[in-house]
Every structure is written in C-alpha cells, then in structure tokens.
C-alpha cells in the first residue's frame, strides 16, 4: 500500500450536500496540481440515509478508488431527527461516524461534527475503543456551531473543508477561489468566514498524524468530469443531436446532461412515456436522417428489447446506453454491478447483429461513445455502450486535450439525392435500400432518408427483399441474414485496424494473467502493479469490445499465460462465459474472482484473491467469490 496518497472520505446524510462538497474538494486538489479520483456510495433515498464520497489524490494518475481511506470527515445526517424514523432506521445522525469504521486505515484521522451528537451516543458506538485499537486520531469539532455563527447550519460542509485543510496542512487558496467562483454576495462572504474560522480553530488543535498530502503539478490543462459527462460529450462531438429517454437510475445522469446541453447545440431531447417509446423515438429520428441515441438501465433496457430488434432488422442506426446497476429486477438502484452483459448481448428475438462496447474509464467513455456512433452509422447497426453505476458518477481528472478532437457529423452510409438517382431502383419505383450484394463489395447497402427524391423504400421488421417489400422467399432470407450478420466481421476488422479498445497492462512475458472488462480495469491494473512488486509475475488484459468480440487479441493473450483469473462484478461470471463461448476453448485456463455485494473491487481485494487462487487457498474475504476453472 502506498502511503503517498490521501483518500479523504466525507460522510453524511443523503441530501446534505455531500456530493457537491466532495466535487469541490476534488476540484480544488486538482487545481493544486494533484490527480484525483472519486468514488460515490449512496442509498436509494432522496433525503437522509448514510452516504459517502471518497476523494483519492496522488501525484500520479489515479485509476481506482484505492483501499479504504485515511481521512474521514463525518458530518452527521441532518435529515434523521424524527423519532418515528429513528425507530425504523436507528440513530441516523450517528451513522456517518460508525458506519465508516471498517475501512478507515490504521493511523487515520477521524474528524467529526459534534454539533449534532450527544456524548452518550458517541460512547455507545465504541468510538474510543476502536480509535485506540486502530491508532486513529479522533478530532471532534463543533462544525455546525462555526457554520451557524457566520451563516447557516448548511455551511458546516465548508467548515469541514476548512478544518480538513488545517489538519492536513493544505492551503485554503484553492477553496477560496472556488467559493468566489461559485457564490456571490452574502453567501460568498459567509462561506469564506466559515472556511477561515474552521481553519483557525482546527489549526489550534494538536494532532500528530502521519498523513502526507503529496505535491503534484500538471504539465497540461486538466478537466475533472464523470463517465456520464464523457459519454454525453462523445455523443455530441460525434454529431448526435437527438436523445429520447425515460428516467431510471443510473442512466438518468446521461439523459439529464444531454437534455441540458443538446438544445445549445441545436439538438432535441425528448422525455417520453416509457422506454419502449424512448428507443422507438431514437429509431424514428435516425430513420429521418438524424444521429440519435437513447438508453436506460436494466429494467428499462428490457423494455427496449423489441425496438432494438427492429433497429437490427431495418438496419436503422442507433446508439443505446445501458447503465448497469445491481439486479435482478429493480435490484439495488444505486449500487454498481456488471451483471447486464448477457442481457445486452442477447436480448431481443432472432439472430442478433449488434455492437456492444464497455468503456473502462472516463477517457474511454468519450472515445468509445464516438466509436459507437461511427460504427452504428457507417454499418447501419445498433450500437450499445454499456457501463455501470461506478463510472457513471465517479469523477476523474484528465488532460483537457483529450477532448480536443474534431466533431464528426457524417451520417454514415446515407446517399445524397444525386447518388440516389444513379442507384438501383425496383420496378415498383422503390429504391433498392437492402441490396443483397452492395456494389462496393461491403455488406452495407446504402440508405436514403424520407424526403429525398426517388429514395422511397419500406423499412420493416419483417424479412424483406432489396426494396423493402415483405418477403418469405428462402433464398432472399439467406442473402439478407448473411449480409446483416457478416457486417460484424467487417466491424471487427475495422476496429482492429483503426481503434483498438483493448488495454494491455504489466510485463509482456508474465506467467499469470488477469482478464477484466469494463469499469474494473483500473482497479485490476493497480493490483497487477502491486502483485509484481510483491514478486509475482502477472499481466492484465482489459477488454472493452464485447461484440464483436476481439477473438484474436484475447486468444493470443490467453495463449501467452499459464492461467488467467477473470475479475468481474457479478455472481455468474458472465464475461468469462462470453470469452469461453466466443473462443470455444480455454475453459480449463480461466478461473473467476467475483464480487456482487454492491461495492466495486478494491485493489487489495484483487491482490488477495489472486494470491489465494494461485496458492489454492480459500478466499479469506467473505465479500467475494472464487470460481475455479471448469474445463472446456
């Protein structure tokens, strides 16, 4: 475990401003030159209930939440003062304190707001004993009191930041700058006073801890944003100007961001009656010539299954976003899981032709959403971006230059009117929209858009002949099925040539491998570095293309290792199953490390899981499951 880092956790009640305070804290640390990464944990409630956000800061790029944390700012839950609720939920105002005991590292600092708590209650939760056992530095402060003195109680967040700065010996300059940027008038003044007062008050305390906040400096301009921001911006930059959706956590994030910004870019957002309609609208807009997207989370995506199949059959390009949360059914709405992979790959009837990308981090959320649009519109196929609640809300900084790319509004394989005049037409007057053998030798038959002269055709979910007329002719059926399915081979070749989405990590000649997909990649890469430092010989492959599957890349990599541990956040090893199915072998080489308790992996867990798997020992931790290799 590296000591040269700060993992600051702020805990409080849902609705207490924990999220915005952590965002500001992270931004201020980024401004000071550090690299930051946040991890959110929140309940499926609007107000009240234990919530926390961690901000991890290092002088080098951070790719995971890390293990535990070393500084707790516990603010108390201000929505839990109703005695009736107390009977149901317990003493919620105490939860930000004791619910976070488990992960606070030895020697860590525990700063809590005593303004709301009774001493007797604090005695009851065993704080003193726990602190002694773990060598914690406990700092009770009346943050509420300081806040009230200058303004309102809600400013205790600012007081907490001021006290944190003093205890960690961080300059308050960046926090002041933020307050001045975000607020004005009395609010600004009051918050600045609260910040200073809390800083002064905490400076006077004598706390002798070992946490060293590293110093860093960026060599280029940074931005800090979430996976949902990156997906939205990727879509806009790739010319998406239409979104339709229905709210569902965690998909709502992308939907909200797009709805807020699309009109500025001359686009349209539609909140509609259900997810069937949402996907159907995206289809209608795309049919009419606009680059369109929709999306949802598990249950909502289930409703999109029929329009998804219609998009495949009519070869209407659309991009769908699937933001995974723990299932089945409504599951755990605010907790991450990677268990919708099979749902996304196989939902809808018939033999499917669809593209599925699973970005691993915020950088990839941007680039792969752009890939998804490019592929969907060039190849006339639905493309799905699948990610999870973890990347959705986590913030990470990256160079702004990452987004400095040209927009691409090219609607893909749509013809101009002049080209339509020269194209093949049917004796019924219809344009040959679905040619068996397109002239350029590809499997993509060019399309027209309603309103274009002489381009009329019928798009139908029934099997159809080249001009779109419904047909059950066996030979036509085979020709159309083959052409639609063969597009996947073309797409695979295109991706291999232009845009490798797979990420290799660790020494090339390592004996052991860890195979991982989606959001857990960064955590695995961090674990791989530690394992190699511990004397193991390990490398990792992060896979982001789920369909078409990168068979060659993964086969070659699996050939190069003695055995591979597949790490994923679900209970049934879905990605391992996909890999085995796609490659047709390696069942005897792959074992699984699974976690599905609602929290993403921490690097140390993967280190433990890997070590016990190669030692043939049982996992010590009960929050994970090890599934040995099964054979082919």
């Amino acid at each position: 475990m590296t000591d040269n880092e700060l993992i600051w956790r702020i805990a409080g009640g849902s609705g207490d401003g924990i999220d915005s305070t952590s965002q500001n804290f992270a931004k201020a640390l980024m401004w000071s030159g550090l690299n930051v990464f946040t991890h959110r944990h929140y309940p499926s409630r609007i107000r009240g209930g234990h919530t926390y956000v961690e901000v991890r800061a290092k002088d080098e790029p951070v790719q995971s939440r890390g293990d535990g944390y070393n500084f707790l700012l516990a603010l108390g839950d201000s929505f839990a003062r109703n005695p009736q609720e107390e009977a149901y939920y317990g003493k919620e105002e105490l939860k930000p304190l004791y619910e976070n005991f488990d992960d606070l590292r030895e020697g860590g600092v525990l700063l809590y707001d005593e303004g709301l708590l009774d001493d007797e209650d604090v005695d009851e939760i065993g704080l003193e004993e726990a602190a002694e056992e773990n060598d914690w530095h406990v700092v009770p402060m009346d943050l509420r009191g300081i806040a009230k003195e200058h303004g309102r109680e809600i400013m205790r967040n600012t007081a907490g930041i001021g006290a944190t700065a003093a205890i960690l010996d961080i300059s308050t300059d960046e926090f002041e700058k933020l307050i001045k940027q975000n607020m004005s008038g009395d609010m600004q003044e009051a918050n600045l006073n609260v910040l200073h007062d809390a800083y002064e008050a905490a400076s006077e305390l004598d706390i002798d801890h070992d946490i060293e906040v590293p110093e860093g400096s960026h060599d280029e301009e940074q931005v800090i944003l979430s996976g949902s921001n990156a997906i939205s911006y990727g879509a806009i930059d790739e010319g998406c100007r239409f979104i339709s959706g229905y709210p569902m956590t965690p998909w709502t994030d992308v939907f909200t961001i797009m709805s807020q910004h699309l009109p500025e870019f001359g686009g349209i957002s539609e909140q509609v009656e259900d997810e069937i309609a949402a996907a159907a609208l995206a289809l209608g807009a795309s049919h009419a010539g606009v680059k369109a997207m929709s999306g949802s989370s598990g249950g909502g995506f289930a409703l999109m299954s029929e329009p998804l199949g219609l998009a495949e059959m009519t070869e209407t390009p659309i991009v769908l976003v699937e933001a995974m949360r723990a299932g089945p059914s409504t599951g755990m709405p605010t907790k991450p899981e990677q268990a919708d992979l099979e749902h996304v790959l196989y939902t809808s009837q018939g033999d499917s032709a669809r593209v599925v990308f699973a970005p691993a981090n915020i950088r990839e959320c941007y680039t792969q959403t752009r890939s998804a649009f490019r592929i969907a519109y060039e190849y006339q196929i639905p493309a799905i971006v699948i990610y999870d609640q973890k990347i959705q809300g986590e913030l990470r900084n990256l160079p702004a230059s990452h987004f400095d790319e040209e927009p691409n509004a090219d609607p893909g394989s749509v013809l101009t009117e002049a080209e339509i005049q020269d194209a093949a037409h049917h004796s019924s007057g219809k344009f040959q929209r679905f040619l068996h053998e397109p002239e350029d030798g590809s499997n993509v038959s060019p399309r027209s858009v309603p309103g274009q002269k002489d381009g009329r055709f019928l798009a139908t979910g029934n099997e159809h002949n080249p001009s779109g007329h419904i047909s059950e002719d066996p030979e036509n059926r085979i020709a159309q099925m083959n052409r639609r399915l063969n597009k996947l081979d073309d797409i695979r070749a295109d991706l291999d040539e232009n845009t490798s989405h797979q990420t290799y990590h660790g020494p090339e000649d390592a004996d052991h491998g860890i195979l991982v997909w989606g959001s857990q990649q960064g955590t695995v890469f961090e674990a791989v570095d530690r394992l190699n430092e511990n004397g193991h010989s390990v490398k990792a492959l992060g896979v982001s293309d789920m369909a078409p599957y990168p068979k060659e890349e993964v086969s070659e990599w699996l050939e190069s290792v003695d055995e591979a541990l597949v790490v994923e956040m679900n209970a049934t090893a879905q990605f391992r199953g996909l890999t085995q199915k796609e490659l047709g072998k390696y069942g005897d080489k792959m074992s699984s490390l699974l976690k599905y308790n609602g929290n993403p992996f921490e690097p140390a867990e993967i280190v433990d899981g890997f070590e016990s798997s190669i030692d043939g020992e049982e996992l010590a931790a009960s929050n994970m499951k090890y599934v040995p290799a099964a054979g082919d």
Binding site: F242, A280, A288, V414, P450, T460, N462
Partner: protein, 312 residues
C-alpha cells in the same frame, strides 16, 4: 440540388403515383374494410398536394400494417403498437415531412394505448388512422379493445366481461385537436376527412371503421351510417369541447346499438402543435434538424469549445 427536394415540390399529383408498380402480396381478404382506407388515403393525396417522396407512413403490426405495402411512399412498418413513437420522432427530426401513422384497434387502443394517449396529449402535427374493426384479424379473430361487451371468441369463450374502449372520448380527453370517425363504406367522407386531418396543424385522430368479413361476421358492414354533419338530428359545434364530448358519447354508445354515426367530432385550430411549442421554448431548432446533416456549410460545434470550461 437540395437535400430533400421532394419536400414541397409543386406539381400536379396523381393518386396512381401512390400505387406500387407491382402487385404486392395480397393479404387482405375480399371485402375487407382496409381497402377502403387505402383508397381514401390515395385519393386524399392529390387534394393536399403531397407527393410520395415527402410522405412518411408509419404502421404497426396486423392487417393494418400491410397498408405500407400497398401505399407507395416512404414507409416504416414498425412493431406492434409502436408506430406513433417512431413517427413522432421522424416529425421532430424533419418537420417538413408529411407524417402519417396507421394501426389497428389492437395496435392503437390495446398494446400501444399508452403511446396513443401521449401522442395526442403532446399534439404532434401528424395524422393517425386507426383501422377499427372490433377484432384481432391477423391473429385469427380474438377479442379486441373495441369488441362489444359479451363478445365471444376463442380467447373469451364465455363472452368478454369488459366494456369496449371509447377511442373518440379518450382522445378528446388526452388532447387530440382533430378527431373524426369515418367508415370504409363512406369513401367520399373518408377522403375528405383524411385530407382535412393531413392539413390540420396538430394531432389528428381518425377512428376508421373497417369491417372484417372473415372474423367479425356479426359486425355490420357499418351500414346504414349517418354522417352527423349532413344530418338534421345532430346540430353541434365541432369546435366546442363540451358539445363534441356529448356527440362522442352518443356516437360511441350507439355504435354498439347498431347505429353508425360518422363525421368530424372535434376540431381545435388554436392550440399550437408540439413542434411549435418546443421551438417557442428553445428546445427545437428553427430549421429542420435532418437538413443539417446534408448541409456542407453547417457548423458543428464541439463540446471542447463550450462545455469543458465548466470542468476546468
């Protein structure tokens, strides 16, 4: 050449342009009321001056869905009950398209009932024709949402315990701004109503009575019918909501008593269409969005120049 030169082309339109030059698969039974819709729709097109390339027709599943095969325009034969959401978005993407949606009573009042209500509520500028034959035809004669109470079928062998849906009243309450009922046996009225509906700026709902000679033999061929605008018995103001509601109530009650009342039931010209509303609040561009993708001079902004500032 403009990207969408078929739109707004001014010339004489011939109804035969809407007939495909080949014989489509004949899946409608002899005597089917659906032929009446097809004929009326084709006849309406020259009246409203629309050519096949500027019309986008969206259908659902069932016998009505075959309309696309016999009508030569841009077509999208979607999935059961979903023609409206697909059609809505096409209209938003390119408001210059003439958007027509069609489906059966199962499609629009059953499986797609939610979309029917919401499309009316939003008052999208489009025409929706529901082929109402009070039966599921293509799946071979099951009870539909408009089948009368007590209707016996293989899936309701004891007779349906459900009262039929009242589509005219429902759509009035939902917010449709043009509502009419016509019948296949009344070709002139049907043509006029379809033409009016197309020209109406807002959501026009036509409940089109189409007899099913195969599966609904007891159902009348909807004759004799009464045109409420031609009859002295019914003197009401189609723009008056309360009078329209009362007329619809009568119409819907009497249909099941064997008296077929057809005609315009409600016409509201004042309410802006959804597209106009959306433009007024700045949530929809002035120029058709679809055109931008074909405009070489269009400027495509990028997030880097505009949204990233907030994240720095």
């Amino acid at each position: 050449m403009s990207a969408f030169s078929a739109i707004g082309e001014e010339r004489e339109i011939d109804r035969d342009e809407f007939t495909p030059g080949i014989e489509p698969q004949a899946t409608w039974c002899p005597g089917c009321g659906d032929f009446g819709v097809l004929k009326a729709l084709k006849q309406a097109m020259p009246e409203v001056g629309k050519n096949p390339d500027e019309v986008a027709l969206f259908t659902g599943i069932g016998c009505s869905g075959k309309l696309n095969s016999y009508f030569n325009s841009y077509g999208f034969h979607t999935i059961h009950g979903r023609s409206l959401p697909v059609a809505r978005a096409a209209k938003l993407a390119n408001p210059n398209l003439e958007v027509i949606a069609a489906g059966g009573d199962g499609d629009g009042y059953g499986i797609g009932g939610n979309h029917t209500i919401h499309t009316a509520r939003e008052n999208h500028d489009m025409t929706y024709i529901v082929f109402n034959n009070e039966i599921f035809g293509l799946t071979k004669g099951q009870t539909s949402p408009t089948s009368p109470k007590g209707h016996k079928s293989k899936t309701q062998p004891h007779g349906s315990a459900k009262s039929p849906i009242r589509p005219l009243s429902q759509q009035l309450n939902a917010g449709a701004t043009y509502i009419a009922r016509t019948a296949a046996v009344n070709p002139n009225q049907a043509k006029e109503i379809i033409a009016e509906a197309i020209e109406h700026d807002g959501f026009a709902h036509i409940d089109f009575l189409t007899q099913c000679p195969t599966w609904n033999k007891d159902a009348k061929h909807y004759v004799p019918y009464t045109d409420v605008q031609q009859s002295d018995e019914f003197d009401f103001d189609v723009s008056d909501r309360a009078e329209a509601a009362e007329m619809m109530r009568k119409t819907e009650e009497r249909l099941y008593e064997g008296e077929v009342l057809t005609g315009r039931m409600y016409v509201e010209d004042e309410r802006p269409s959804y597209g106009q509303e959306k433009r007024a609040i700045g949530e929809m561009p002035e120029e058709p969005l679809a055109e931008r993708y074909f405009d070489e001079d269009a400027e495509w902004e990028r997030t880097y120049d505009n949204l990233l500032e907030h994240h720095k």
